[in-house]
Amino acid sequence: MSTSDTADTLAATGRPDEIKAVPVRHPGRWVATAIIVVVLAAVGNSVATNSRFEWGVVGHFFFSSRILDGLVLTLELTAVAMVIGIAFGAVLAVMRLSPNPLVSGSSWVYVWFFRGTPLLVQILFWYAIAALYPRVNLGIPFGPAFIHANANELITPVTAAILALGLNEAAYMAEIVRAGILSVDEGQTEAAQALGFTRLQTMRRIVLPQAMRVILPPTGNETISMLKNTALVSVISVTELLFAAQQIYDVNYKTIPLLLVASIWYLIVTTVLSIGQYYLERHYGRGSSREQPLTLLQRVRGNLFSSRHATVEVPGVGGSPNR
């Protein structure tokens, strides 16, 4: 297009022509695409043709009652251990921020201990706790006891699993919650106090809801990690998903298909958890940007239909707060 053409349109419409430039070529992208397509084809081919995958066996056991029972126990362990972890972790976080050095120090020691030893060792420890304390007494410290229990009966494998996973998780959650509380601007606390909120109300109504934005993403990741870490308790014969699969292949020697069954279930649950996490984060992100973030469906649709114009124009974003 010559300059005189542009000048003509400018004169006619008052607006210069839109730029129609030859796009930059990206040969590297084409090479990468070709390599990925080849690798995918090879993997797909092997999955479809290697008879040792035994997809028939996978399908046969996928909904078997033993696998499903194991899955349910895995979900229960994850939920209970996370609830313990979050609740106790929040307490530890508040303790850690206490001005009393003994209170904050004991929280520090707890985190140091439970983060400093492998989870697998902690699981074995709780399983063998009866060797250390054969009897559990409830009563006045150094005084008479009212309730006696046999530790072997009290701490079943499932109880040991819950204790190990939950108490270990509390140490990690304590750090996450503490970071969240510290991320909230001090001015928020001052404004709330100036309005007459008590310390507790300030924490509950003002600080924690804002801390959630920082706390939630890592908590979602912790939940997903927890789901997978429950597989560790198979070493103390808790029949969760992995141990259920192991029990089956110990008998029929179909190791690979049954490990696939377990893996696919883990993938399904982590996918569902990830979607839930996305919506939770969206809820607690209220007010942090000017636009309500898109739902997952809107995002997928946006990606499919406008991949050429990936930068969706959002008015106002990135501007100064003083419009």
Binding site: A191, A194, T198, Y284
Partner: protein, 254 residues
């Protein structure tokens, strides 16, 4: 003469070894608008924060409406107040901050209605209705559903004023309310404050806005280096500063 709303006698405050307030003595009468001027670091904001006990004073006496701030006197002994008692007293004193400090996870209306609901236990419907009135009063009737991030600085500060008003305070403290604003937004906030002053609100305003102090202030206090250097009617202080430090400060800002 009625009891002063704020009465300070020899108020001292140190942060570590740095003494920020070196004996502040002043009185604010009910319905009075007092503007506190002075260079940064002179202790104006710290003094304001002492009045609602966001900072503890080290020595002297500070009372609001005849009651000690943060303490209770019984005979010769002084007792520290419990958290809930301090909170109740704070709820009677409004405060507007330099950086607005609106709650970002709540809409403008929720920001305004929150404290009446949670602190004064006013039923939700009534608190929301009153919140709407307060927002109308500062000219933001169309912004009740906006989050703070969607508002301009001037609008945010007006929401903050409405939030303080919703608690029906007997005194409002303003801590440099226009210092974080773009110049063209300062006027709308000062207008809202001027209307409050006309309605008879008792106000203690730390500010750099000489024009506002001159027009709206009943009294001007000039602070420097932790002490009150000069007090008087705005006309007298601005036209005829008696103290050298006031004179040199005014020559720089006027």
């Amino acid at each position: 003469m009625s009891e002063p709303m704020v009465k300070a006698e020899g108020v001292h405050k140190s942060f570590g070894r740095l003494e920020v307030l070196k004996g502040i003595t002043l009185e604010v009468q009910p319905r009075e608008v007092m503007c506190v001027l002075g260079p940064s670091g002179s202790g104006k904001s710290t003094f304001l924060r002492c009045i609602n006990h966001l900072e503890k004073i080290d020595a002297g006496r500070l009372s609001v409406d005849g009651e000690l701030v943060g303490y209770r006197q019984s005979g010769d002994k002084i007792y520290e107040l419990r958290d809930s008692e301090v909170a109740r007293k704070r709820s009677e004193i409004g405060m507007v901050f330099q950086r607005f400090n609106l709650f970002p996870h709540m809409t403008a209306l929720e920001n305004v209605a929150m404290a009446p609901m949670r602190v004064k236990n006013i039923p939700k419907a009534e608190a929301l209705a009153r919140g709407r009135e307060q927002l109308e009063r500062v000219g933001l009737a169309d912004k009740i559903k906006s989050y703070p991030a969607q508002l301009s600085g001037g609008q945010q500060q007006r929401v903050a004023i409405a939030r303080a008003l919703a608690m029906e305070p007997k005194l409002i403290l303003f801590d440099e309310p226009t210092s974080a604003l773009d110049p063209e937004l300062v006027g709308e906030v000062l207008d809202a404050m001027r209307r409050l002053a006309e309605e008879g609100m008792t106000m203690l305003v730390v500010t750099h806005e000489i024009g506002f102090a001159r027009e709206v202030g009943d009294t001007v206090v000039f602070m420097d280096d932790g002490v009150v250097v000069e007090t008087g009617k705005p006309r007298e202080v601005f036209a005829n500063p008696r103290h050298e430090r006031t004179r040199s400060f005014l020559s720089k800002v006027l």
